[in-house]
Homo-oligomer: 334 residues x 2
């Protein structure tokens, strides 16, 4: 590692055969840089064993703050993930601070002023951000680990679950229980989890020789209880009534049960319901909800451990970790 | 305000007739200072029109970060409060960062390293912290507004609800519905809200000539669904079975309904249930839960507005704001 302190933007630009402004633009993350150029610069940095803190000749003082960003804190699935990350952060002497992205932080650049003005050592990102280029250059300046959500095609560490397998398994189960008209109540396809679960659902139906019915794949814009009641009511009122729902959230599953009751339909006799997340909601409804349990605490804990590893050594290769899920069978399908 | 820049710890100490070390101790918040001495110093600061940023001769650059601390993020009651605070913060150009106190941040001094090392302009505190002296000296260095919870006897701004009136009203309603054996399922009395709701409950019973039965006042250590099921089951199994529950959280109310069902008791015929918070949980259970609705978004919004007012002008007097609540009647009592 000798001589690392002498690496400058000029050196990187010269070796990569690009202008200083281009390297600077990539590092600032504010402007996009052409894909090939970006790759050239990244390869050069790697060859030079460059890590951002060598840029100014001395390492930045450690702020001991980790930021964790969630899309919406109203979803109880996030609570054990926060607990896990906080436990890991605390063990390593970091404070964990949480940010809710909502519609305020849409792009990774919306986090700029947070990270520039304040001493945040790294970020755990659960909000869905698709800008691969910007994420990667951001990650060069401030270590990122993605959790649950991740950016496909990004070279960024993540800890997540196998959403495809979990959804395929849940749909296989409903088919095995004799259900054939299975609605997928999904979230927006902006989310990686929604895309992967939809693929798993379709693959399961195909495996049983059933073609997916487009009208039975619903994309709700928000994980919102009222919205899900309206949507479920609409589908249940159609002439060709489904006999099961696979919902990508327990909140949706609770809404489907509510909609069934209002229409005088019995769960699970008339309609089976499978949720996702294994939150306390699954035990509050009547009947209790069959659901996919994901290891929330472990997701948060491992994401934070991974981030701290990267904060301490920026040269570690990125890691991809997928944790297992489990289908928990309860009254809503039995 | 002329001459404010010249105020020093020495000047305050001299005018108050105490040692420099004592003033410094009060400002650091790390050690307790005798009540009378503290008052003497605070009075002197007020007389000198002192505000902490004059101490170093120049104002600290504004970090544009507001910290909001919650006891446990698993409780859905906090979600609209976060939304409200974030909306206010964003309008004023601040980032809102959230911290979960759990068992990690027990005392106000546990926030020291967060605020010392980082550029946090102010703090909204929802966690219950009883150390009046420390809170007040902390507030001199970093503006605090308390929200929902507040510290009685502290000279610190807050936005909350009238918990006494809300609980009295809910219990009056159960009495008016003909219930006489009403259990209070309460949280730990470390919380201001728990103490005030208990007083309201007892006052309501007394107003009806009923003496509160100590066995029917339960204090649960956590707002935890499973814990509440166990507790409710235990009480419902007693020889002298209650005919109603007033629960200080919708999570408790959902647990009571679950316990009733498991024991073959009908809600509301055998047992009426009133919850608190008007979260989505109240619509997920069967029957839906009668509950006290509190204005969550407004609580967060006004607390953050108040904090920013104080960040911009440290010399403003502290304010105390109580917002109204509303009893929403649903199937669990009708």
């Amino acid at each position: 590692m000798a001589g690392r302190n002498k690496i400058t933007i000029e050196k990187i630009a010269m070796d990569a055969g690009v202008s200083i402004a281009t390297v600077s633009r990539l590092l600032s993350g504010k402007d996009s840089v052409k894909k090939e150029t970006r790759q050239k610069i990244l390869d050069t940095m790697k060859a030079l064993d460059y890590s951002p803190e060598t840029m100014n000749g001395s390492a930045k003082p450690e702020g001991k703050l980790i930021l964790m960003s969630f899309p919406e804190l109203s979803n109880p699935v996030f609570s054990p993930i926060i607990d896990g990350a906080q436990t890991s952060a605390f063990r390593h002497g970091y404070h964990l601070l949480i940010n809710q992205s909502r519609t305020i932080y849409k792009s990774i650049t919306d986090y700029e002023s947070l990270l520039t003005n304040n001493s945040i050592s790294g970020m755990i990102l659960l909000s869905s951000i698709a800008e691969a280029d910007k994420l990667e250059s951001f990650n060069l300046r401030c270590p990122i680990v993605m959790c649950s959500e991740f950016c496909e095609g990004c070279d960024i560490s993540y800890v997540s679950i196998d959403d495809y397998a979990a959804a395929k398994n849940a749909t296989d189960y409903l088919l095995a229980m004799g259900r054939k008209k299975i609605v997928l109540m999904n979230s927006s396809l902006n989310n990686k989890y929604a895309r992967h679960r939809e693929s798993g659902y379709i693959a399961s139906l195909q495996g049983a020789g059933i073609e997916a019915n487009e009208e039975w794949i619903v994309h709700l814009s928000d994980v919102n209880f009222d919205l899900a009641i309206s949507s479920a009511t609409h589908i249940l009122n159609s002439d060709n009534r489904p006999d099961a729902f696979f919902a990508v959230s327990d909140i949706y599953a609770a809404a489907i049960i509510k909609a069934c009751k209002r229409l005088g339909l019995s769960v699970p006799q008339d309609v089976s319901v499978v949720g996702f997340d294994n939150t306390d909601i699954t035990l509050m409804t009547d009947p209790a909800i069959t659901t996919v349990s994901q290891p929330g605490f472990q997701l948060g804990y491992q994401a934070c451990d991974l981030l701290i590893e990267r904060i301490n050594n920026r040269n570690l290769p990125n890691k991809r970790i997928l944790l297992g899920t489990e289908l928990i069978v309860r009254g809503s399908t039995l």
